[in-house]
């Protein structure tokens, strides 16, 4: 045996010894035929109205499974109930990570829960793709955070920073808009929307003349509305969850405010309109960020509706069987997440996955108003959206700016 051969043999042996443990180690939640996904969300409790944000992603993954999966693997989805409460969310996330060995935590509406589980996610290097809004979850410089994004955490949808920014932009496209009022919950979630909106408004010649609080569970907005009325404002930004947004819209109508109310994404547009129950209180008055390329129910989004209706059970859909906006929001996230798996290839690890996600550049979900771009420095995929509203006859209209319909 030549000296060269013996050196080669020694190198080969050393390589094999070094490589053996790596070959034997299995990435958490990944087998030859499956990828375990932990869908964390409020499946019970009073915040359960947000669970369509999970079910939208789940429906899309079931559809992908039905089509054969990704690189020979199918999604094995395990639900974790956070009930939108921090303590319960931490327990549910730990079960998903340590007991169920989930590769990824998906969905996670409720910013409080996302912030509470973030240290565990970072410590355990768990991949997370959520829809919760607080910019401090995975925002970086330029998207509401103050440093680089957490390595394995990302949004394929906008976070509160970009949603708030677009709310401010939309408000300021109203001709003559100067004096703006905010009505917001006193929590990080609401400030995540209202603060960037305020920055934009003030940088563009507007003034936030009133920033008043409305607590969770409020059943009356008389005080807020009368304060606003006394300020003679041009518009209102409501950084509120759905139940309180409904109360604000009803009282704004009752006291004849007559100015537009721009809602945050913590409310489902269709359900809000339905729950206000009075066309005069919403037609031409209520607007909300719209993530999709057209209105829900448009022929171009029928494919998404078909998936939602086919792959969700009766219990997972609303009682009338018709998916609401939140389901499409969840599906938006699901499409981005699945695309990451497609790009990661067969050799799936959390590192190959996040690298693949960071190649999403101007990615068209065929659903969203905005395209998804994620880089190593910026883990928030979408920064713009359309706005949804109702014309004077109650027909849903998608706007690119105030008074400018998409079609």
């Amino acid at each position: 045996m030549s000296k060269f051969d013996s050196r080669l043999r020694a190198a080969l042996v050393a390589f094999l010894v070094a490589a053996l443990p790596a070959a034997g180690a299995q990435e958490r939640g990944v087998t030859d035929t499956s990828i375990k996904i932990g869908a964390l969300g409020p499946f019970t409790g009073k915040a359960a109205l947000f669970n369509p944000l999970n079910y939208g992603s789940i429906a899309y993954m079931r559809y992908v499974n039905d089509m054969g999966g990704v690189w020979g693997r199918k999604f094995d989805i395990v639900l974790g109930d956070s009930a939108c409460a921090e303590a319960k969310g931490i327990a549910a996330a730990k079960k998903l990570i340590f007991d169920d060995q989930a590769f990824m935590i998906l969905g996670n509406p409720c910013s409080g829960v996302a912030m509470a589980i973030k240290p565990t996610l970072i410590q355990e290097n768990v991949v997370w793709s959520g829809v919760s809004a607080n910019p401090r979850i995975d925002g970086s410089v330029g998207s509401g955070g103050d440093g680089p994004p957490p390595k394995y955490m990302f949004h394929t949808t906008p976070n509160g920073y970009f949603s708030g920014l677009t709310m401010g932009k939309f408000m300021m496209t109203k001709p003559g808009a100067k004096r703006i009022a905010f009505v917001a919950h006193t929590n990080d979630w609401a400030r995540g929307y209202c603060d960037p909106a305020k920055e934009y408004i003030e940088a563009n010649g507007g003034e936030v003349v009133l920033d008043t609080a409305m607590e969770r569970g409020s059943t009356d907005a008389t005080a807020q509305v009368l304060q606003i009325k006394a300020q003679n404002v041009d518009g209102i930004l409501g950084c509120l969850y759905q139940p309180e947004l409904v109360v604000l819209l009803k009282d704004a109508h009752k006291y004849q405010l007559g100015v537009p109310v721009i809602g945050a994404l913590g409310a489902d547009f269709g359900q809000t309109v339905q729950q206000v129950g009075n066309p005069d209180a919403v037609n031409g008055v209520f607007f909300q960020g719209h993530l999709y390329k057209d209105k829900i129910g448009a022929p171009s989004l029928e494919w998404a509706r078909q998936i939602l209706v086919k792959y969700l059970t009766k219990d997972e859909l609303p009682s009338d069987g018709e998916p609401t906006h939140f389901y499409y929001f969840g599906m938006f996230n699901g499409i981005g997440v699945v695309e990451g798996f497609r790009r990661a290839g067969r050799e799936l690890t959390r590192d190959t996955y996040i690298k693949a996600v960071e190649t999403l550049n101007d990615f068209d979900t065929n659903l969203g108003a905005g395209r998804v771009t994620i880089t190593a420095d910026q883990h928030i995929g979408v920064s713009n959206m359309f706005f949804n509203g109702l014309d004077e006859k109650g027909n849903e209209v998608i706007f690119t700016a105030y008074g400018k319909p998409l079609h």
Binding site: T44, G45, K46, A48, L49, N51, T212, A213, M214, E215, G217, S218, T219, D220, T222, A223, Q224, L226, Q227, K229, A230, Q242, P243, V246, V247, K250, K254, Y255, Q256, Q271, Q274, Q275, G277, N278, P318, S319
Partner: protein, 292 residues
């Protein structure tokens, strides 16, 4: 900002009427057994859901659905006392309070099983309407609150002051043992009074459903306001419950607008603290042992 005061007073009185009705129904229960029903808010919430089920699922017209809801809540109150309260009526006060809370939470959990994922809008008997009186806004709902509560207050006054039934209830309120010694079937009367209290609460729940989207937790909001109104008005006083409700309604609006919106949610707690410290009997309360 002072120009807002007439509006705040009108809106405060209107919502205060609703608080008053809840407090009135809790006071009636209290007069029977000197127990504060801490599960009352959940029964109020159930009434609004029941009406929705009767009107939407069973397609009954509003009035029959309302009557049926009130009847179901009467039966529920009757059975609640007979099956859960009466067997432990001689036990520690804390046990009675815990039983009431446990029943309330159980009811809330059952409602959540069916309606936990969606907020429900109760059907309305009339369209929403707004009237202006010298720039002050008043809604048809608010007028309905005032009419219903005033009618119920007068009816309660007549029943509890002018009838034999009312005198018996008053006797039981003074001393249950004494009442039973003179031959009054205390258990049966208490069953009926709990039924009546819950039926009145049902009316409150239906009024609540006119202005709120229903969710299983709406009862907690109701209970706090009702309890604060009862505390302010004086435990056991029917007119005190109404005055307490009105005052809390107005205070919430005025403090919430002029001081801080944070006062909207804490006014009822502040009222409870202040009244219990300064005048535990409340404005019109009678001396009686409070069993909580």
């Amino acid at each position: 900002m002072l120009a807002l005061l007439p509006q705040l007073l009108v809106s405060g009185i209107a919502i205060g009427m609703l608080y008053a009705l809840i407090a009135l129904s809790m006071t009636i229960l209290y007069r029977a057994t000197t127990v504060v029903n801490f599960g009352h808010g959940d029964l109020v919430m159930v009434a609004a859901y029941l009406l929705t089920i009767f009107a939407v699922n069973a397609t009954l017209p509003f009035v029959p659905a309302l009557l049926l809801s009130v009847a179901v809540l009467f039966a529920f109150g009757f059975l609640l006392h007979r099956a859960f309260i009466w067997p432990i009526i001689r036990g520690p006060h804390l046990s009675l309070a815990m039983m009431a809370i446990a029943v309330g939470y159980s009811v809330r959990g059952l409602v959540r099983l069916e309606y936990g994922q969606e907020a429900v809008r109760m059907p309305r008997p009339f369209a929403e309407k707004i009237f202006f009186v010298n720039n002050v806004v008043i809604t048809l709902d608010e007028i309905a609150f005032c009419v219903v509560v005033l009618v119920m207050l007068v009816a309660s006054y007549v029943v509890f002051s002018k009838t034999r039934f009312g005198r018996i209830v008053q006797a039981m309120f003074q001393t249950q043992r004494g009442a039973s010694l003179v031959g009054i079937n205390v258990m049966q009367y208490n069953n009926v009074i709990w039924g009546v209290g819950c039926a009145l609460g049902a009316l409150g729940g239906v009024l609540l459903g006119l202005i709120l989207i229903l969710d299983p937790d709406v009862g907690a909001w109701t209970l706090l306001r009702g309890f604060a109104a009862m505390t302010l008005g004086g435990f056991g006083s029917l007119h005190g419950a109404v005055v307490g409700g009105l005052l809390i309604g107005v205070l919430e609006k005025v403090l919430g607008t002029y001081v801080s919106t944070a006062f909207i949610d804490i006014t009822c707690y502040l009222v409870i603290i202040v009244v219990l410290l300064i005048r535990p009997r409340g404005l019109f309360g009678q001396h009686a042992t409070l069993r909580v």
